[in-house]
Symmetry: C2
Subunit: 135 residues, 2 copies
């Protein structure tokens, strides 16, 4: 099995053209366990791994992957976007001091009453953020 086979399949399945940059970024994102990462972090990581890619391309790629269902955007900080490789429905702890995110176990939190969407709108997603401070 060649090194890029899995991410190649993944991009093709998602209907995305498998460019050099997309393949390399997909490898960083999807072959290192579940991750929560910002565009800046991913860009730095790519450069550190001698992947030549512009910051604009990192942003474009993250947004394309999100639109294609490979990533999910997480909004916990008014100053930047986080992207989550785990796209299943789940919620997050957010450590405000460090800017780190962690998944909350499914059984640890549940919403028992869902509100009805107001007239003329549909519910896209329900996000729960448990904000943490250092004890």
């Amino acid at each position: 099995m060649r090194p890029y086979t899995q991410v190649l399949d993944r991009l093709r399945t998602a209907g995305l053209r498998p460019t050099r940059q997309r393949l390399a970024l997909a490898k960083l994102l999807f072959e290192n366990g579940d991750r929560h990462i910002t565009a800046e972090q991913l860009h730095t990581e790519a450069l550190g791994a001698t992947i030549r890619v512009s910051l604009a391309t990192v942003y474009n790629t993250l947004h394309q992957f999100t639109t294609a269902g490979l990533l999910r955007e997480i909004v916990v900080d008014a100053g930047r976007s986080y992207f989550d490789t785990n796209t299943t429905a789940h919620h997050h702890f957010f450590y405000e001091d460090s800017g780190c995110l962690a998944d909350i176990d499914d059984e640890a939190l549940a919403i028992t009453h869902m509100p009805i969407a107001p007239e003329g709108s549909v519910i896209k997603q329900v996000d729960v953020v448990v904000r943490l401070a250092r004890a």
Copy 2:
């Protein structure tokens, strides 16, 4: 009763020096029903009401009010902060098309099972955002 009596009391109670700017912004914020507002919106509104105040002061004031417990910051958009005059525990609908926020009735949404805070941290707040798209 003078026009600024209520907000004057409110600032004094909160331990904040009642400067001209703080009084005027407090009046806009707290005497128009529950509001969700960004710094830019408040600044525009203040200027429209011939309140001379700098944008830096609007930001400073919103942050001071939040720290003093008069406002609550709501993070639903990675590009800007919203401030909520209703500081009780409650959750929000966020209309992604328009950038508008609306409170969710208490009984309409319930969470069973609060997660335990991870080692070394405390839960500051639990935020639920129901993201809406146009139908």
